[in-house]
């Protein structure tokens, strides 16, 4: 019997895929089916699972902690995805310019994403301590408001004088002409420093002691500690996404921009009509990865809640809720409830990604 070439090829493909399929079956499919089964039972790892139907799912929606976790997860995911996508695109466009020494800056900008989440979380804890850098910087800034005010006034005065002088010479210069500002800024700085040194301006006694982490206070409906995590994660993910955008930008033919420039297109038009449409496949990838990654936020919650002293109600996310129920500190595992929450999170992730693809940015470009 002879095997057809196509069949043989398919068999080879299957053979080469086998190791991957094996791990997928054991660690994903089997685990998924088990979790699905457990989610309909009351199970504590020890006594045989007892079927409770949809009981766990109903319990979830009656648990205020779960509802808090759900709202945190959604808010966190949308804010971080929006922020990191926009900022990464901005940085990528800046780094895509043919400037001298641009590779140095590309390396520099990529550094934050090399930091492990544990180290980044530790930094976060120190920055946001009550006597930490953030509060100290705020104190310094608020304390020197007189100096800043003086600087702004002096700058305006110097700039106005120069602009008037130029205009008298018959030159039309815009008010914020950079060449003139090059003189006004150092002059104003020097004068403001002089006023301070002469004792005319005194710094105010300001001590900002906002407890950023051990608090349940909210800003725009999101608790402070979660904002701190948002800042940190945006900062550490931007570089990775930036690299993806850079690759996408490199793929856009220069000729398109040149043609547009000949037609007199402004940079904004070029951005919205050329860059964005051609970046759509990358944009889709970045947004999808961002959504999936942010919906599973876990480790920072563990660190900020553990050593940062942030209350659980102010930081808990769905992934942490799952973990906290499988291994509750000092109590019996609630595997059934945790499985239900895990499956809910999986379903939610799928739903959000599909909705995003349908109504937001899809991977197909050119159609816009």
């Amino acid at each position: 019997m002879r095997i057809k070439a196509r069949t043989l090829e398919a068999l080879y493909a299957l053979l080469l895929l086998l190791p991957f399929l094996f791990t997928l079956t054991v660690f994903f499919l089997y685990a998924f089916v088990r979790a699905l089964y457990f989610s309909f039972t009351d199970y504590d790892l020890f006594n045989p699972p007892r079927f409770v139907g949809l009981g766990n799912y109903l319990t979830l929606f009656r648990d205020p902690l779960f509802l808090t976790a759900l709202s945190h997860t959604l808010a966190y995911s949308f804010v971080v995805t929006a922020l990191q996508t926009a900022l990464a695109l901005l940085v990528a466009m800046a780094l895509n310019r043919p400037l001298k020494g641009i590779t140095f800056f590309r390396t520099l900008y990529y550094l934050p994403s090399v930091v492990s989440t544990a180290a980044a979380s530790l930094l976060l804890l120190w920055l946001f301590q009550r006597t930490g850098l953030v509060n100290q910087a705020l104190s310094l800034l608020l304390g020197h408001l007189p100096h800043l005010g003086a600087f702004a006034l002096l700058f305006l005065a110097f700039q106005t004088a120069q602009v008037l002088w130029e205009r008298r010479r018959g030159l039309t210069v815009p008010f914020f002409d950079p060449a003139l500002a090059l003189f006004s800024v150092p002059l104003a700085l020097l004068a403001a420093w002089g006023l301070g040194a002469a004792g005319i301006l005194e710094p105010w006694e300001v001590r900002v002691e906002i407890p950023w982490l051990p608090t349940t206070a909210r800003f725009l409906g999101i608790p402070y500690p979660l904002w701190a995590i948002i800042l940190m994660n945006t900062y550490t993910t931007i570089p990775t996404l930036m690299v993806l955008f850079l690759a996408g930008l490199k793929g856009i033919p220069r000729t398109l921009y040149e043609a547009a420039a000949l037609d007199g297109a402004t940079p904004w038009v070029m951005f919205t009509r050329i860059t964005l449409p051609l970046l759509r496949p990358v944009l889709f990838l970045v947004i999808t990865l961002g959504l999936i990654g942010t919906l599973q936020l876990f480790d920072q919650v563990l660190f900020v809640g553990g050593s940062g002293g942030a209350p659980l109600e102010a930081t808990i996310t769905l992934a942490y809720y799952v973990y906290g129920n499988v291994f509750p500190s000092g109590a019996t595992p609630r595997v059934g409830l945790a499985s239900a929450a895990a499956l809910f999170l999986a379903g939610l992730t799928l739903l959000i990604v599909l909705l995003q693809r349908r109504f937001g940015v899809s991977e197909r470009g050119w159609s816009a």
Binding site: D44, L45, F46, W126, Q129, T216, S307, G309, L312, T332
Partner: protein, 409 residues
Amino acid sequence: MKKAFLALLVLLGLASAQTQVRISGWGGTDIAIVSGLLKEVVQPKLDKEGIRVVYEPIEGDYTQWLFNALSAGTAPDLFYVDVFWSESLFATGRVAPLDPYFSKGEIAEFLPNLIQAFTYKGKLYGIPKDFNTLALQYNTDLFDEAKVAYPNQQDTWETFEAKLRQIQAKLKDVAGLCVVPDFARFGAFAFATGWKPFDEKGRTVLDQNFRRAFEWYTGLVKRGAARVAQDLGEGWTGGCLGSEKAATALEGAWIAGFLRDKAPNLPYRTTFLPLDPVTKKRGNFIFTVSWSLNAASKNKEAAVKVLKALTSPEAQQWVLERGLAIPSRKALANNPYFQRPGKEPELNRVVFQGSLGQGGYVYPFKFLSYGGDWMRPINEALQAVMTGQKGVDQALKEAQAALDRLMRK
């Protein structure tokens, strides 16, 4: 060559004749202690009986590992059980009761408080290997410098606080005490008022006594006697003492090892926690760990022999003399080690006695099978009041509501 081969055969023969007993605990500093104990005390005794102890310490999250191993049937014969999560583990039936293996007389040799801590529904599920309580450590240099009298065991909350206030007033950059929003410290003061974590019906009521302790503890910062540990960049009161950011600390004997490394020349002494001015009593926690027996163990008899060797008077003497842990046997209360001069024997003595009459109202560090979920509302109330985000009334009302919700489940 032939000789070596023969020797190997003999060794193999020996190994097969021996009964293996697997034991596990968490890693960290415990590895050196248990390994030393096994090598010098336990194994020589068991060699005659043909028992070989295999020690498998676990780094990482021990509780998760143990629950998983017990569930999967791969757990060792003997393992550590922390009293904090003991009840939820004993309730699963995967731990064997020890009553059939120990006579009443043998059990009576251990401190009754500790035996009680590992008794669940009338059965004994673990032999305490060691324990800890809270004590008050103070930096004598800082007290001398500020010319303030040392804390002593007659101090009440009020006289103790007065000393702390003096310290903070005289040594501007040193806190009297650094406080943590943690029931594991605050609870000792709540117990001193006679408050019980659970009433007869098993419910938690944050009553007037609790409130009195709560107001005193959370008000220390505002009254200029203490600072919040996190504001000083520390996570625990021992850290503040070690870095001389605070003059006192509320810790157990575990602080000794930390100070030995971090501040070997720091002169400190130890006394009992201050007394509640109303009840004239103090309160304390017992933090303790047991060796417990796997109910699915195939060689229980051998495992129990190992357990007895691990908690024997010789073993505990060995551990105590090295200042590694506080023994759980009554007979060691009068051990000459405790009378040795020096800061560590004094610390260990006060911690040991904290579990006895001098300790006052002493409770094991466990909360039925609620665990950390039970402490969380109280810790969050402590934090909210200490950072000035909530008033006492509101914080306690919310904590009570959260506790009621937890107990209804």
